[in-house]
Subunit: 388 residues, 2 copies
Amino acid sequence: MNYFSSDFKLGILGGGQLGKMLLSDTRKFDIQTYVLDPSDEAPCKIACDHFFKGDLMNFETVYNFGKLVDVLTFEIELVNLEALAKLEEEGLKVYPSPKTLKLIQNKGIQKDFYIQHSIPTANYKRFPNLKSVVVDILDSKLKLPFVWKCTEFGYDGNGVKVIRQISDLDNLANVECIAEEMIPFKNELAVIVCRNPSGDIKTYPVVEMEFHPEANQVEYVICPARIDDKVSEKARAIALTVSEKFNHVGLLAVEMFQTEDDEIIVNEVAPRPHNSGHYSIEASYTSQFENHLRAILNLPLGKTDSKVAGIMVNLVGESGFSGNVIYENIEKILGWDGVTPHIYGKKQTRPFRKMGHVTIINENISEARRIAEDVKNTIRVISDKLNN
Amino acid sequence: MNYFSSDFKLGILGGGQLGKMLLSDTRKFDIQTYVLDPSDEAPCKIACDHFFKGDLMNFETVYNFGKLVDVLTFEIELVNLEALAKLEEEGLKVYPSPKTLKLIQNKGIQKDFYIQHSIPTANYKRFPNLKSVVVDILDSKLKLPFVWKCTEFGYDGNGVKVIRQISDLDNLANVECIAEEMIPFKNELAVIVCRNPSGDIKTYPVVEMEFHPEANQVEYVICPARIDDKVSEKARAIALTVSEKFNHVGLLAVEMFQTEDDEIIVNEVAPRPHNSGHYSIEASYTSQFENHLRAILNLPLGKTDSKVAGIMVNLVGESGFSGNVIYENIEKILGWDGVTPHIYGKKQTRPFRKMGHVTIINENISEARRIAEDVKNTIRVISDKLNN
């Protein structure tokens, strides 16, 4: 197959920042791209060859879009599965496969899958709605505290909440959900696995999510994780097993916990480029985006080793600001060695909206961590207007 | 000045591969771009915000385009200087300045400039046309052999020829030119300097152009150059002097010869991202394109050190093939560690047309060199049709 400067067409469902960073590599290889997204202001609108506006959950829209391309992928899981399944049935290459996506899209099904394949994961119980969770607590069938997760449509911390008392359930949506045992953990880790249809498979190094000690929010994604080699090896091995069981093509980001006893248990997966792999653009021999592209086109996978240590800091909209975005002090952080901001192209900021990220690379991981903290304390995503 | 996700507009004259690689960084920072190019099939047509088709040498076209933007730069020197000068006069930020470009665009003026500023360069003589060169040879005022260069519109080896006998002048254009003394040299080197309007200045490491032993064509650009540290330091110092004398803003690629006596003499310069800096996308902390952007926006310059050794191989159209391009064996080279092809997006190949390049990175420069040779011997830029 001739992909380069040819008539070949790659379709991407979703036109957000992940797609935008993927387009950087389709451009590098001059691969023709078609993008579908509901928003006229999608970050992918420029840099793709053809942009289509439409609903990713609508069967007809996704099906008709798929008919235009030779290979179809997605940068967001919330897409119409039935359309993907029909397209695949009709012979279109859809990567990752809708069969894989079906096992992942719903967190209840995903958890059942881990149990079925003896993949270590936290204990859980599935519930059809919030009401039945309350009933179980009152009947003492469910012990507090636990982690509540809605099974679908959750993202970026939405749809996940620690429940310590019944009143913590107030204001949660009355939807299908799971209650998961709270696991005390030392570290939250992630491993990105890439795999092509020929079965070539590679893992990226283990990364570590460092949390803010008080706010309990991920502040830094650090590569390599500052953990024991044995724990790293175990995490990579488990990630490989998860990938094999899902039989996925493309990238699979496997999020895991390292328990107090150095056990590794799987939290959840994402079948696409992932926030925990953004550091790879600057730090790795091959970025996660290029490897996603190589994988879905059944090209050989690129080397996943790092050239230098990499740390990523998310840029989210500052609380209290909504409106035209201003990246305060961005000139300042650009003056520091190895600091690269990525601006996703959203013109409007809102509190906690993901607006970009900053990568810090350095030969020395401690030095990178020091600069990352300075970056975090210096740049602010604000706007020309304070919230009412 | 707020450049990021704002109303700020950057104009780029020329929409070729250099512009395309620059757009990769304007996208990363979400800086709005306007591009002018004569071709509807320019590699920059997608990924810029607004594309305009027009003649870069036409005063009105360039002037009117310049009126639309806040900062204007170019990725090709062959642009209408008068329009740039008028725009600058009227207050537009044009980087590099037309004053600098004027000293570079014509090779005769460029050579005079070196002499005037005591910058070491090969001896030369300026001629208004080819006929007067012949007269000088016949009058024994000009000794054979020498290097003929047309003063304007030469590029990629066009417009340069070694003259060993009068008949070598046959078929050369009867245009303004220079005759330059042939300098026996050990190495052809280059240093890229970047400088912003505040006067921040940084040099990239010295790179070495390795020639094919028989064909006398550059085969590999190697970073760092495999030369003595003292020679490297001298080359960087001379490049800095050249940059200061030109008082340029943006990038300046300084091509130099290392003579048999380890003297450094300046060959020529280019006031823009340059083929000799393409390795920087993968190998450097900050690519030449990002640093060009930082420089012309008066942002702090990024670190120019390398993370790993880098070697670049140009991809040019194979002799004998014209038509729809095919990159033969590209899947094969993608299977080797640290190998990244860049495909410029030209759909049609022609003999010797620059179609792309491949970067090879490795911790070990000898290993990189070995892989580069394999790349060179493996990939071929052909087409579905043989030439008549």
